[in-house]
């Protein structure tokens, strides 16, 4: 176990910007395990780093549109402080009412409840409300536009809902936020967070059958596939509920080498893998990326135990996990213990308590059974 400095309040811990730019990442998304887990704090932390280093950035938000207030706890949605020169996706109404001028660079062609969304450049400094874009396709376009207008790092705030689970898909790297608000029990928070981290850091598929280029087959497919031992490729019907049936009837013919799911992975499918662990022990489950896994942590833990041969076509770069030991109700976990245990449970990801300035990194062998043969 390597503990990277930290544990005391008297030394510097996090350098997000450094980590991001060293790897050449041009976009980053922030996603949270729950409300009030400190995602915005982490977000603002990175912003501050960028402003202090005069790093040209663009800011956008992915999620359901139309929330003026935090829907769950009815507190004000935090507005974001931006410095002069920052590029931001802002809705028409906000531009008109903003208390410092914004230069309008381009219209995105997308609208929100506050009107058309524009790419703007701050001509002063102050708080601004970032427009929320509800689709990953549109977000890709916005990121492209921001790059064209000179932003070297685009920071995407992923709101908490199903739409934003696609945030890691559109950015080069991702930071996940977790915290005491997720569950009153620290044990539970750690288990759930670990499951999510495992899902987000699944390995990329990198193997082949001698007579079939799996990557090519998958890339050219718009539908879920079953690839048999003898190279038989079958397209599955789109209804995810019937995947199990289709897999079962295929198993009667020949052994399955790969199952490719291009959409969401739900409980039923993983349970099928669990209950057919013997006949599917040499089968690799391939998915697009880990953010498509929508199962609870219990099913996930069980799945890893009994099958676990899973890999992705598009990996997510989860560069850090931030944790907030205080919940929105005021309950707290002991901060060091929380960070330490999270780090131990996850391994190989930096765990940061931004507010409390705690950083943990445990280098261990990846405890996943990797999906490589």
């Amino acid at each position: 176990m390597i503990v990277v400095r930290g544990m005391t309040e008297r030394c510097c811990l996090v350098m997000f910007l450094d980590a991001i730019t060293k790897k050449g990442y041009q976009s980053i998304s922030f996603i949270g395990m729950a409300k009030n887990v400190g995602k915005t704090t982490a977000f603002n932390y990175l912003l501050k780093e960028c402003f202090q280093n005069d790093y040209p950035i663009g800011i956008a938000s992915l999620g359901r549109d139309g929330e003026k207030k935090d829907l769950i706890f009815a507190c004000d949605k935090p507005r974001i402080w931006i410095e002069r020169g920052t590029i931001a996706a802002v809705a028409m109404e906000t531009i008109i009412q903003n208390n410092f001028p914004l230069e309008i660079l381009e219209d995105t062609g997308y609208s929100s409840s506050l009107g058309q969304i524009y790419i703007t450049k701050a001509k002063g400094s102050g708080y601004v409300e970032i427009a929320t874009t509800p689709s990953s396709r549109k977000m890709r376009h916005i990121i492209k536009l921001m790059k064209a207008y000179g932003a070297r790092l685009i920071i995407v705030d992923g709101a908490l809902d199903r739409v934003s689970s696609s945030a890691p898909e559109v950015t080069d790297c991702t930071i996940l936020a977790t915290g005491a608000s997720l569950h009153p029990s620290m044990e539970q928070v750690i288990r759930r967070t670990t499951a999510r981290v495992q899902q987000l850091t699944l390995p990329t598929i990198k193997h082949n059958m001698s007579f079939l280029n799996i990557n090519e087959v998958i890339e050219s497919s718009q539908s879920p596939l079953i690839i048999g031992q003898e190279g038989l490729v079958v397209t599955m019907g789109k209804e995810s509920l019937s995947y199990e049936k289709q897999l079962f009837s295929f198993l009667n013919k020949q052994k399955i080498n790969y199952v490719y799911i291009n959409g969401a992975v739900v409980d039923g499918l993983l349970k099928f893998f669990i209950s057919n662990k013997w006949s599917l022990q040499n089968t690799t489950l391939i998915i697009k990326n880990g953010s498509n896994i929508l199962v609870d942590h219990l099913t996930w833990e069980k799945y890893l135990k009994y099958h676990g041969n899973i890999s992705v076509t598009k990996p997510i770069n989860l560069i850090a996990l931030t944790c907030n030991s205080t919940s929105h109700k005021g309950d707290t976990f002991p901060p060091e213990e929380f960070a330490k245990r999270l780090s131990e449970s996850i391994g190989d990801t930096t765990v940061v308590d931004v507010a409390m300035n705690i950083k943990e990194r445990v280098k261990v062998q990846n405890n996943l059974k990797l999906g490589c043969i």
Binding site: T8, N44, Y45, L102, E103, I104, G330
Partner: protein
Amino acid sequence: MEGFTLAYYIRDTKENLRKNDILNLFATATPYGDKIKENLAPYPADKEELLKQEFEELKAAITYLKEVPKSRFEEIKDSLMQIVSVDLVIEYLEGKAILNSPMLFNLNKFLFIAKRVADLMENTSWFSNTQIRWQFNEKLYKLLKIKASYSFYIGSYGDEAYEQFIFNLRKLEVELSNLIKNEENRLLKYYALEGRVFIDGALLVNKNSEELVSELAGSDAFIVTKETFTAVTFSRKEIKQEILLKEKIDELKSVLQAKENQLYENLSDEIREHSSYIRELTEKVGKFDWLLAKAVYAVNHSATIPVINSHEYIFKVHDGVHPIIKKELQGLGKEFSPLTIKLESGVAVLTGANMGGKTITLKTVGALLIMAQMGLPVTARYFEFKPADFIYTSLNEEKDLVGLSSFGAEVQSLNEVIELKNMWGLILLDEIANGTNPEEGIALAKAILNTLMKGKCSVLVTTHFDGLSSEKGVVHWQVKGLRKLKDIVSIGDIYANFDYGLEKVTAKDTVPKDALKVAYLMGMNKEVLLLAEKYLVTNGEE
């Protein structure tokens, strides 16, 4: 019927001619092209000159399109796609309201792209036509400072004094930001917390660091703003200099707001002088876009420009197809048999077997005429017509008006037809008077057709009744239909052997009798068929 000369009259209650579907085949790129498309109506006969001009312009557009290199065309199309609506801007300008920044951005972008399109079109023969071309309003572009980009920032329109003001404000803001930075760093250094960062002006400290907590709690520079079981939030107190600077900046910011409002007002006033130019430009861009969409369709689907015949009352189609039905058939893997027919004033009767495409013929003739009359290229090898005043359809599908029996509804619509008879137009009737007993039905149909025959209009009517086609003065068209009746043994053979073409019948032919054959092939009960055959021979008597 005076009213009808003012506007073209279409009676197509059930959208049988598919006018809107047809219009959607023309892919416009700008909101202004869309607007023209949405409001497009057929030209009435007395606007023949305008229709002629429309076709001339379309011809020029097609010629241009055939010559232009593909890459250049793509560039033009891409640019058009970026045209944004400035309707709200125009509304504000004309209503003497002040434009806001998104509106001004839209205006900038609209003008910028319009100029780019004009530049791309420069020196082409099509664009040298003043009806199409738009002028570059140098004054307006200069006023809006549109040069290399269309981004909008109100500050670019301020004078020197404004710039000086902004400069001073920035200076103070930088001063404040440095002041805060220095103060934060000073505190971090003082308490040996280098490398930590203030978040929202506060530090969160773990209670385990008792020493630090008590140190900060005792400091004048911090106040405790929040405390939990494990941590304390220390917010930094603002220093005096900082407070003064903030006040000054706030003051300047409200002055700036007023200055900017003034800039918006002045700019709006100056632009207002050009509002008619802007409006005209939107119309021209729309027209350009619409012409291009029509030309693209014509080239891609080998549609032709209709020929206007001012002298003869005539609708003449060579190898015409209904663009929508053709597409739908293609989707089913079937071909649309092109249609050739010539219609004049008077009555033409169309006969043919069941499933012989008689109704489709009516729909196609109607659709092509509407297309021509709207100034569109038509999907035919050749189309000649005298611009009409109306088109009237009464197809079987629509004879279910609420509260009336099918016969009652038909009587009502036939009455309307008779009123139209002295105008030049096209009347399409499907299965006339078939809603009642055949004896009276034929009598009524004959009477109606004889009445219509005396008028100016052209009537195309389908029927199964024998007597109608042999009426004096009636032109008789027939679907060629199942030629080799003997060879046909299955339903598949019907489609393979069916000739959907039309032929003009001169002799006193009877209506083709292949309904029983078709019914047989469709698998009708044999007993019933035998009985029917028996009745046919004995002419209905036992």
